[in-house]
Symmetry: D2
Subunit: 285 residues, 4 copies
């Protein structure tokens, strides 16, 4: 079955839901799934709708153009996605393998529906993993000129028609130009429960503060370090027995899980961003 997925948001007003539902119903679509959320604090309306688009009486362009007209009238910001397109995901890593292995194996098992055309790193260490799975590996050391290194990465992402960049423990701060160009298309995993322990060495600081749980946070990268919209978080209970290194080891599992869930939500077009918050619709399976 081919599905069309519409994500929309607008300032709240009467009749948004009914108008949108009516539009698709009027065009003869079977609505597979419809989720709506009104944020009463922000007076903002959000919606995700999933249509059976296997047999359409019009072209995709006609549908999108038709909806565009309605959206214009109702003030919707929106996007449309088609289930028969597999997104192309680039993975950036530094030296640790746990998130990398996890993402690749989930993609191979069909949990993450995407292509992984390349892996990029500022270190040579992970090439062995890339080779095991026959994924091209690009090694760009940082050296003296960080900007030049970043330009190479950005050029490569374009050349490979990448849709989503995943920072799977890529321990570098990206420039504002990079995050702006790839706004809401770069997912980073931070190894702490944000906004606690932003920045470097979160496990050591978690140890020193004596927290009883450690966490991980997946978020869209933005100009401000570790401050972009949060997509997913989880925690794991710890106790006094764990040294900073122990916390680091225990946290790996949490990082893997949180990053994979965030990437999955993005690939399934379940995320809408408003201000610095995300609406993440669950998906029926």
């Amino acid at each position: 079955m081919i599905k069309a997925i519409f994500l929309m948001q607008a300032d709240d007003s009467k009749g948004l839901l009914a108008s949108a539902v009516d539009f698709f119903y009027g065009k003869g679509f079977n609505i597979l799934h419809c989720q709506q959320h009104t944020d009463s604090y922000e007076q903002r309306f959000f919606m995700r709708i999933e249509l059976d688009a296997t047999q359409m009486s019009m072209t995709r362009k006609e549908l999108e153009d038709g909806f565009s007209e309605l959206a214009c009238r109702l003030g919707f910001e929106w996007s449309c996605h088609w289930s028969d397109y597999r997104m192309r995901m680039a993975i950036l890593v530094s030296k640790t393998s746990h998130c990398l292995y996890d993402l690749i194996s989930r993609q191979l098992e069909g949990e993450l529906s995407c292509e992984i055309p390349l892996i990029i790193s500022n270190h040579p260490d992970m090439e062995r993993v890339a080779n095991q799975f026959r994924i091209p590996y690009y090694y760009f050391p940082i050296g003296d000129d960080k900007e030049a290194q970043e330009m190479k990465i950005r050029a490569l992402l374009k050349r490979f028609d990448i849709d989503l960049v995943v920072l799977a423990r890529y321990m570098q701060i990206l420039s504002p130009a990079f995050t702006e160009e790839w706004k809401e298309r770069i997912i980073n995993i931070h190894h702490a429960f944000l906004p606690a322990f932003q920045g470097a060495n979160p496990y050591l600081r978690a140890y020193q503060r004596g927290v009883k749980m450690i966490g991980a946070t997946a978020h869209y990268a933005s100009e401000d370090l570790d401050q972009g919209p949060i997509i997913e978080q989880d925690v794991v209970r710890v106790n006094h027995e764990l040294t900073p290194n122990g916390l680091r080891e225990v946290g790996k599992d949490c990082e893997r899980r949180v990053l994979a869930n965030a990437v999955k939500a993005h690939l399934e077009h379940r995320i809408i961003v408003y201000k610095n918050r995300t609406i993440v619709f669950t998906v029926e399976r």
Copy 2:
């Protein structure tokens, strides 16, 4: 604000969502919240819709009659609820106080929107708690004639216009006549993660089986012991250090929480039952 809440279900077919949304929109209602779920395994459609009914251009009866017509045509089973009616909840207990205290204090704090007109028990022990909160307490010992005791309870529930019966660790099996009369209106808390450890002494059996988590399950009481539709469950991690009594103590917190959440979902008209399963819609706050 006065709200009207409609719960509906039907065998799935095209256009159910659009028809329902259209009906309310056509009558001039602002739809506050709309949640829909299609169970693709059962081919069954479920929906909860919340309307602003503060200023209606018709009577409540007219609205319900109007919807009844549509429902008839589309095959909906449905119910309608009004937010200005406070449900009346009876609590049945035996000898332990933890769930009783918890329910009463949550009601006092406004977490549970209901009246508690009476507490009923087969033991005298909890009268002191009832007195503290000035809630009438009815003590019906079981003695030789369990049926007679149950008839007294059922009569009392009627006399007090009760809407919901909560078994807050009431350690008696109800007769089929009772559960049938109060179908989907009795909530029981079972002190185990059902279907594990149905029946008596779950904590001892959990100890003997050496499980690493214990749980609690809130469900609608049905004819078959511990087999009614599950509303809510939760677990807590345990280890080898806990004896059966230790498990019992640790489990209390889980029982409290699970029962309170289930009762809350019922009072807020968020539950639809189909076969032996519940759809529990979350509510926006």
Copy 3:
């Protein structure tokens, strides 16, 4: 059974465990439970030992003096506690009842082994709760002279021979003199997952940051606001559906549970503080 509980800590060196165990064994005690932890990062040794003291061949003073000698030789900081003494706990509240109800009902059910001789507040609101349970209630409005108000509280705590002060959502900052006098004997509940959202309005800030879990933290009050040693934390998963008020409501349950667990650990002499961290030994039941 009467139990003696020893808590000890020292810079790590060879033979600490053996020496301590030997001491108690040599005096003829049955060791009910022995827990030891060496923090390899800090090179610090911690130990909790529980003895059967029902039939002792010496006085309590003799035992403590004897151990004091050993402790002096080995460099132990230590304390000794006797299970037949019920600690006296004062509860300080402002206007919300959820933690107050929870603590009182747990004490009544025997989950918290202590006396609650009084409740103190800067508002009159909670007097009704105190009355329900016939606990004396002291209302000290803050007015112009906060220091004077605090002096009254501190005098009262002395007069009532209080051992532990619990801030059950007491929305006032204590003076350094107060926290110093009651060092490691005041437990506060903060309604966020520290160190995230220190200070005021954590639920609003959690909403604005768009976190996917909210939490609560129980800690010993220290001079620096929300920075004392953490005893217990927990979180609850939330999503975009919750407004700041919704978060506040959902968080209550977490606050209750976390505070109760921290108080319980303190009452059972399971906590050792070192630097700004706690070692919380679990207890077998």
Copy 4:
């Protein structure tokens, strides 16, 4: 650092802890970590002790013989393990790869300290995974003679000097002869929260029962299907949106995590079995 780890259990009596501690201290060992548990319900004593064995004044045999004498006198069942021996783990699989990938990648990242000399299967499907990691793959189809197939596996395990067998979703019931020969050395992952949903198709049955959480259980395989001693369990919250297939997908993550934790505990000699229960000591890191 080379460590010696002793696991011991005995019927409880006075002085067991002191005698054991004394023994090792008297031989000049630094005790790195000592954990003790007395099950007051079973009157059974359990202990794990970790020694620094880098510079010993005796041979390993002398130490073990010496302890054997003491153990004999005190009634200990015991075992001794040396940290410089890497256990050899065989993985058995059928057709799904998620646990297999997870175990291998954790071993490569150093989370699981062991060798993986071979993978065995009753299907050819997972050979591609084995090849990626250059691990020998043995494919034994079951055909008409299940006993013969099992004999081949058992022979192979011997030939490869295997210490631990992990059933990473190996969908076959092992014979009593096999489980007896490998008692407490076969770890199975069951895709349900045992004792709920023992046997086949747990996800379908979980759907039908309408549970609100699904789980996974790692246990030592015993003669009775899904009834061996439980090592580790975890659950994940689900709701009405998940079909049986959806539950299966969501459950994978839980299976991976639970199996990996159980295997890790076994490899680190942290598990003692008594009756049908496990004592799993945590380890300081």
